[in-house]
Symmetry: C2
Subunit: 386 residues, 2 copies
C-alpha cells in the first residue's frame, strides 16, 4: 500500500466531509433550496475574508477572478502599478497588457518581499495611476508581502488596491478592510479546502464606484451582473452547484476552528517546516516566508526534478517544483488548508529519505526531531510567521 | 419520505458513479497522473462531440464558453449574424455588443425554429459578415434548430459558424464536422451528466486561423493558450480537477451506451412526454421540439408559477418555468442526461396530480397511459424527434 499525500501549495487536499458534501445530489439553482445554501456561503465568506464587502463567487480558477479584478475597474489606456515578485504578480501585468491597460511594473527580485517605500516612490512618480495590483502570498516564491504597509502606501493616492490573496487567504494574517484593500481575489483550492473551480472577488464601495465608470469589455466576469444577483442570493449564470455545496461545508469547518486558530496553525506548521529543512542543511528561498508554503533551495549536485519525482512516484508525496527560471532549483512544500502537524512530519521524513537516497549527506531524523521540538512548544499567537 | 426528482433541462441529475468519482481525493494537475486522466477525457470528448477537432475544457459555466466563442475569433468592429430565437440566442448578441462586435440579429419568434432561407438572405444582404452564431437546442423555448441546413446556408460565405450546443449535445442529433460547424460550445451540466462548472469549445482548423487574427482582448478564455497546453494534455490554469474526474466517468457511461442509443433514448423520452401532455389536454410551445426539453403552455386560468411550486415543494419534482416574457406562461420538462422512461412516468404522474389539484379538468392517468403506449413500441431509429 502506498497512500497519496498532497503537500502542494494548491490544489490542496480536500477533507472527506467536503468531498462528500460536494457529491450530494444536484439541486436546481433557481430555487429557494439553493438560494438558502448560497445565502449561508455568502455570509461565511465575509467572515473568512474578514470584510464587510460582498464577496462574489465565479465559476473559474483563481486566474478568472484576477482577470475580473482588472476588467471591472479600469478602462483602456489607464495606467496601473503591478507589484511583480513572481509568477502570479506577473500574471496581473499580462492581464493588464491584454486589455490595453499600461502596467508600470515594480519588479521585486524573486524570493524577496515588496518594499512599501519603493511603492510610495512609484506612486509619487506616477500620479494618476488608477490601481495597484499586489499579492499576499506569492506562491511561486513562498514570500508573504506586508499588505498592511502596502495599503498605507496606497492610501490617499486615489488608486484602487487589488490584492491576490489566492494562496495566502486562511494561512497568512490578512485584514483587507482594516488595511485599505479594496478588492480581494481568492480561489477555492488553497486554504479554503475545496476542489479547484471557484474563485472570489470582494468589492469595496470605492471599487463599486470605479466599476460604474470602467470601460473594459467583460461579460462572464462582469461584477456588475454578479452584484445585481448577489443581493437576492442568486448568480447571473449557472453556478458550480456541487463545489458551492462543498465550500459551504469547508467554510463551516474553518469558522468552527476559528480564523485566529487557523492562522496560528498555519504559522506553526510553517515554522516547523522551515526549522526542520534548515536542520537538514538546506537553505530557504523566501526572505519573508509565508505561512502557506515553504520554498527550499535544491542543494548543489542534487537533481531537483528527480528528487520531486522520487517523492511523488516513489513515496506518494506530492510537493511542488520551482516555476519559471527556478524550475529544478527550488521546491515548495505546501502547508495549507486541510493539514496538521503529522502531515508535516510525513513530508519531512519523506524529504530526508529522498535526499539520503539521492546522495545528499544528512543525518536521518534530525529534521523531523526539530519539527517535533517546535510542535511540543505552545503554539505562538496568531500573527506573522517567525 | 419525499424524494427529490430533478427534471429540468439543466442542471440535470448526476449519476452516483459520477458524483463519487468527482469526490475522489484531489491529485495535483501538473503530474503524469492527472495528465493521463485529461488525455482520456480529451479523446472521449471528441467522440461525444463527433468531431476531429480539439475540444477545449474551461472551468466555467456554459456562458463562459459562449464568450470564448466570440472573443477568440472576432475583432472590434466586425459584424456577425446572431440567430436569436430565445434567451440563449440573445446571449450571443449581448456578448457581441459587450465586445464592440456588431450583431445583425435574426429574430426568430420564440417557439419557432430558424428558417435557413432567411439566414441565406441575411448573408447575401450582409457580405463580409465574419461569423454566424446559432443554437442547437434553444433551452428557453424547447426548439431544436436544423443545424445541418444552417450549415449549408453558411457554407461558402466565409463566415465562421459557431453553435451553442450546451443543452442539445447528447440529446439531439448533431454532427458538427459533417454539417460545417466550426466551433461548438458545450457545458457539463446537461446531457453530459456532470455537475455544472465545466464548459467546452471545439475549434476547427478554419477557426484556428481566425483565432490568430482576432483582436478582441481575452485572458482566462484565451483559446490560444488553451490550445498550446492541449497538445501535452495540460491546461494553462488550474483545471477543475474533481469535475474533470467526474466527467471522465460520465463520458465513459455515455460511450458505453453508445451515442446513437443515447440520442434514440432521448428522442423516445421526448416523444412520450409530448404525446402524454397533449393527451392531458395541454398544448406544446415549440414548433420544432428538441429531444432535450419539452416546453408546455400553462392552461388558461391556471397559475403557472404556483403549479411548479407545488410540484417542487409539494412533490419534490423540479421542472423549469418559462424565462423572460414567458415566465408563468410555459413550463419546461427536461428529459436530458441521466434519465430513463420511469423518470418520465413520474414527472407525468406528478403533473397530472398537480393539475388536478389546481382545478384543471383532466382524467388522471391518461397522460401516463399514453407514455406507456409510446414506451411499449420499439424505440425509433436514431434521428430527429417526431
Amino acid at each position: 500500500m502506498k497512500k497519496n499525500r498532497l503537500m502542494s501549495p494548491g490544489p490542496t487536499p480536500v477533507p472527506e466531509e467536503v468531498l462528500l458534501r460536494a457529491a450530494s445530489p444536484i439541486i436546481h439553482h433557481r430555487t429557494p433550496q439553493f438560494r438558502s445554501i448560497l445565502k449561508g456561503v455568502n455570509a461565511k465568506l465575509k467572515k473568512v475574508f474578514d470584510t464587510r464587502n460582498p464577496v462574489l463567487i465565479f465559476g473559474s480558477s483563481g486566474t478568472g477572478a484576477m482577470e475580473a479584478g482588472v476588467v471591472n475597474f479600469l478602462s483602456a489606456g489607464d495606467r496601473a502599478i503591478v507589484i511583480n515578485g513572481g509568477k502570479f504578480g506577473g500574471r496581473f501585468s499580462e492581464i493588464c497588457r491584454g486589455y490595453n491597460v499600461d502596467p508600470i511594473e515594480y519588479n521585486v527580485e524573486w524570493g524577496e518581499a515588496a518594499d512599501p517605500d519603493v511603492l510610495k516612490r512609484l506612486l509619487k512618480e506616477n500620479p494618476g495611476v488608477k490601481a495597484v495590483f499586489g499579492t499576499l502570498c506569492e506562491t511561486s516564491t513562498g514570500v508573504v508581502n506586508d499588505i498592511r504597509a502596502i495599503g498605507e502606501a496606497v492610501s490617499g493616492t486615489g488608486a484602487l488596491l487589488v490584492i491576490d490573496a489566492i494562496s495566502g487567504l486562511g494561512a497568512d494574517e490578512f485584514h483587507p478592510d482594516a488595511w485599505g484593500v479594496d478588492v480581494v481575489v481568492g480561489g477555492s483550492q488553497k486554504g479554503l479546502m475545496t476542489p479547484p473551480g471557484l474563485s472570489f472577488l470582494s468589492i469595496s464601495p470605492r471599487a463599486e464606484e470605479m466599476l460604474k465608470r470602467s470601460g473594459l469589455p467583460k461579460y462572464y466576469f462582469d461584477a456588475g451582473s454578479a452584484l445585481r444577483s448577489y443581493d437576492s442570493d442568486d448568480t447571473p449564470w449557472t453556478p458550480s452547484i456541487s463545489l458551492i455545496a462543498g465550500l459551504d461545508s469547508a467554510l463551516g469547518m474553518i469558522l468552527d476552528e476559528g480564523m485566529k486558530t487557523v492562522i496560528a496553525r498555519h504559522a506553526h506548521m510553517a515554522r516547523a517546516t522551515r526549522e526542520a529543512v534548515r536542520e537538514m542543511g538546506l537553505d530557504l528561498f523566501a526572505k519573508a516566508p509565508s505561512n502557506a508554503v515553504t520554498a527550499v533551495k535544491v542543494p548543489e549536485d542534487i537533481d531537483g526534478e528527480a528528487l520531486l519525482k522520487e517523492l511523488r512516484d516513489g513515496q506518494g508525496i506530492t510537493v511542488a517544483g520551482g516555476q519559471g527560471a527556478y524550475k529544478g532549483k527550488i521546491f515548495r512544500i505546501g502547508h495549507l488548508g486541510n493539514m496538521d502537524d503529522y502531515d508535516i512530519i510525513c513530508v519531512l521524513a519523506g524529504l530526508e529519505m529522498a535526499l539520503c537516497r539521492a546522495g545528499f549527506e544528512l543525518e536521518l531524523g534530525r529534521g523531523v526531531a526539530r519539527a517535533e521540538e517546535v510542535f511540543t512548544q505552545l503554539p505562538e499567537k496568531c500573527g506573522r510567521a517567525i
